[in-house]
């Protein structure tokens, strides 16, 4: 099957302008845009950890494999450029299934101008595994890092949280466009994407002697879980939301962004000097949040 798949892939991937030698040579070659830094990220998704082949279509799975990587590029405020894709396919799969998976991935790649420039193909007696490494670029000054928040910053998210497992994790739109807009704002100080859960990922943004206060009533809840009694803890801990989580000085207002993007930006808290993460509810009690998070 490998030969058939690679032959199909060769015709499927159109000729690529900036890339001198693509699939077929020992390496892909990229001519660098001048004055840019490269950003690189890699993520693997595995059956029964990040998806379930008995429930999800190959198309959706392939799409997710690239989407989680695009989300990392968005979290840097960078533009995606190239990706390499390695498939490790269970013995029982046929060519049609592999092609369907790849089509899901290619469709998203095309939406975000990401060229697939190489990869590897293996079969094994184990779960479907897809490894993607993505490369993007951005001018050094515009990159947004995770650990550069300042005390007094407001904390924002780009969409409702919680219950992603009910479907969002397979369908989300990587926040590339919003990430690029935010990269142009000097008042935006730090950024990441929510993968492990709001509390855990927010904690990963804090430096020594920094803490955060979250406002319970301001945390946007995904519509599918809104009416559930555990909606708030799910928004805090579920993970795989793939929304951007960023901090900005009080001068920043979501209305600075174009209309497409600013509607879905929610101010949910502030960076403060106390360590740890606390939650203020409407009573108004303040409770310290535990750092246990979402386990896949």
């Amino acid at each position: 099957m490998e030969q058939q798949f690679l032959a199909w892939l060769k015709t499927r991937l159109a000729h690529q302008s900036e890339v001198v030698a693509g699939i077929g040579d020992d390496c892909a070659v990229i001519h660098n845009p001048p004055d840019s830094s490269h950003v690189v990220s890699t993520d693997v998704i595995v059956d029964l950890v990040h998806f379930d082949v008995s429930k999800h279509s190959p198309h959706m799975i392939g799409r997710k494999a690239l989407a989680v990587n695009l989300s990392d590029i968005a979290a840097m405020g960078a533009t995606p450029g190239y990706a390499v894709v390695s498939l490790i396919i269970p013995m029982g799969w046929n060519l049609i299934q592999v092609q369907e998976l790849y089509e899901g991935l290619l469709q998203l790649a095309s939406e975000f101008n990401t060229e697939i420039i190489g990869g590897d193909f293996n079969r094994h007696d184990g779960p479907l595994t897809i490894s993607v490494t993505i490369m993007g670029h951005q001018t050094p000054d515009a990159l947004k890092y995770r650990n550069t928040a300042l005390v007094g910053d407001d904390i924002y998210v780009t969409g409702p949280l919680g219950g992603s497992i009910l479907g969002h994790h397979l369908q989300f739109t990587p926040r590339i466009e919003t990430g690029l807009e935010l990269s142009l704002h000097p008042s935006v100080h730090a950024m990441t994407d929510i993968t492990d859960g709001l509390v855990i990922d927010l904690h990963s943004m804090l430096n020594a002697k920094q803490g955060a206060l979250l406002f319970a009533d301001s945390i946007p809840l995904r519509s599918e879980i809104k009416e559930d009694s555990d909606a708030l803890p799910r928004a805090l801990y579920d993970g795989e939301d793939f929304e951007l989580l960023f901090t900005a000085s009080p001068q920043f207002t979501p209305a600075d962004l174009t209309s497409n993007n600013h509607h879905d930006i929610y101010k949910i808290g502030v960076i403060q000097q106390d360590e740890g993460i606390s939650l203020k509810d409407s009573t108004p009690n303040i409770t310290k949040l535990s750092l246990h998070g979402y386990e896949h």
Copy 2:
């Protein structure tokens, strides 16, 4: 185990000069050397396909995961720079084993000045799987491509072939140094590395209306198989030799290289106009070689 492993890895990977944000942020950031092209390659190795955890130490397996990728960089005549490493670890493995595996990889990385700048870690109910994506650089003019041989070129390999499965595939030295020396020679026209087997990989170098004639007596045989009756077919088809296979105009002589490298360069044939690959033996009969190769 993931948290323990990542904490260990953070201390294990020293601060890296050119890389602004390494492990811990959403992406690693690389400042590009000016006037260079980037080369990118990815390879996955899987238990029972490329190694056997019941026979091979984690250290050797980790080493191989990087070595096969370095070999792709060597085959372009490029300098390795950065790699991202994704581990998919079987449930039964413990932290010590994972660290041992990573140490094998890091030791080779340090020999070839390759910085590990990111990765991913997963556990699953399946075989040990390691995915590495490697990035290197070279000035555009010095890169050596696979499909740029000319009729009349001599064909060379950088070491003896066949029987790699007996041990070489876990211990080989990626031919980075030789690849870089060859990249400086304008008379070297095309290059790849032998992974699938001499005949298959040589075939992948040929363009339409190009063929190759190999000289049976000139093909260097690995010492472990030299006395075997099937030594020549093994050298032709076994694969995983990870030697460079290159073509050069008749002006080229191995003595052009520094003494370290030129001893192990063997002229094994010529590029000609006939299609297909033929073998000339001492009788002197010429037989057409089949293109079936090494199957893992």
